[in-house]
Symmetry: C2
DNA sequence: CCAAAAGTGTTGAAGTTACACCCATGC
DNA sequence: GCATGGGTGTAACTTCAACACTTTTGG
């Protein structure tokens, strides 16, 4: 029988980029205390792989298939649901609310435009919140978010995963702002462009921005072959 | 009550360096089929933190406290114990041998000289085996070992954790061979020495090797303050 | 014509790689 | 005195950081 396993859950940190700042998808548990937000997550099924469970949770939530997903690690204090509000919530959704639960955290990168909000089995409302504005979350989700940010910062330096956050066509400035948002520090425009171009993972399109009140910028797509090569082998250092 | 949690285990990849090659501590399950070796690991207690469980398992096995330990991630196919020999073993040691188990893997670095083999609750015999000689392990332990090696390769480039594998006093050649063993590639002797010295994490002692049939080499200790600083903040790249 | 963002090169400093010989010891 | 590993410097090259002005568009 494929039943929910009450001891193991997955939680997902879904990042999205709105061309200005980094956002995270959080679900709202309805009441309006300060820790009402949580990361999307759920128990796994007994015969489900961990990665499959995370994929399923994300697909239920966002409707997106083939989402970029990577495990961060396992979390789970014996006392992770010590807050009153967390315990009450668990009682309302779980058959064994008192069980010790280990959660396996994932981080995920999506193109914000792909996400169409809709209800899911574990969330009535999900919404994008700026990473910088989050100072409190349910359970140990703030710790998980923090680990996800660190992982993202590290990985962006050695793999071109940032492209998962951008639409098919994008400008170098957008990519630039993306890196600044993730690394939380300014990067020199000219040096950034030079480095990216040398990696040879993007190709200019025969197309420019239009309708902008300034010089229209060149649009690029990324170069799938090179991208996949670098995603596999990584590169030693982006040099940032 | 603090009972074993039959759903969650920890497994540890314990690396040791014998001045020539990298070794891993494996336990022998006694029978002599080809997959008889396993990584040390055990179920966690219900009220135990994951990190504490790993620390406990390692202390039971090696008697070493304050061991360097870091989580790799969670593993656990629904079918991870599909081999006949694994199932039989589980029946002999677990109260719920059929349960779905998620294991949280850790990697650990120890000074080989510190390890005094002795029996533990989950292993009659533990022994060091060269990493390169391992081609088969119980359950999904080969996959875990492989993840541990990758993690170690990455981390050694940005944190000076290698010192956990060496005795208090060591020579630059030993450190050099350690890096080569971990990275599995030759490193230029002079360039290696220059880089390490520039990091300023080691200090020469007023002492040299003796009894060696060649020029005795300078002994070093590592510089704890600088080491701890770099362990925290990391460095962008060792340049290897 | 003004505001706004796009796009572009150079220079000095630092870091990287590759490479070969002498040194101190035990036997 | 010989075998063994220890220890050292330099030159060519590449990479990096810092920095300011011109261009194109919409309004």
């Amino acid at each position: 029988m494929n039943e929910l396993n009450p001891h193991i859950s997955v939680d997902c940190v879904v990042f999205g980029f709105d061309f200005e700042k980094l956002n995270v998808l959080v679900i709202d548990r309805g009441s309006n205390d300060t820790s009402r937000m949580a990361l999307p997550g759920n128990l796994i099924y007994n015969y489900e792989h961990l990665d499959e469970a995370a994929t399923r949770v994300l697909e239920e939530l966002t409707g997106i298939k083939n989402i970029y997903l990577e495990q961060i690690g396992a979390f789970g204090d014996p006392l992770r649901a010590k807050k009153q509000s967390d315990q009450e919530w668990l009682k309302s959704i779980r058959s064994e609310p008192g069980a010790r639960v280990i959660t396996v955290a994932y981080f995920s990168l999506v193109k914000m435009a792909d996400y169409i909000p809709h209800a899911s089995s574990f969330a009535k409302v999900a919404s994008w919140v700026s990473v910088k504005e989050i100072s409190l979350l349910a359970f140990d989700h703030l710790e998980i978010l923090s680990a996800a940010k660190d992982t993202l910062k590290q990985k962006i330096k050695i793999q071109p995963i940032g492209f998962n956050l951008l639409p098919e066509k994008f400008t170098l400035s957008q990519l630039h702002r993306l890196y600044e948002a993730i690394l939380e520090k300014p990067l020199d425009k000219r040096n950034f462009r030079r480095k990216i171009q040398k990696l040879d993972i993007i190709s200019p399109l025969r197309e420019k921005q239009s309708g902008v009140p300034h010089k229209p910028s060149q649009l690029y797509k990324f170069n799938k072959e090179k991208y996949e090569l670098l995603t596999k082998i990584g590169f030693d250092n982006f040099g940032f």
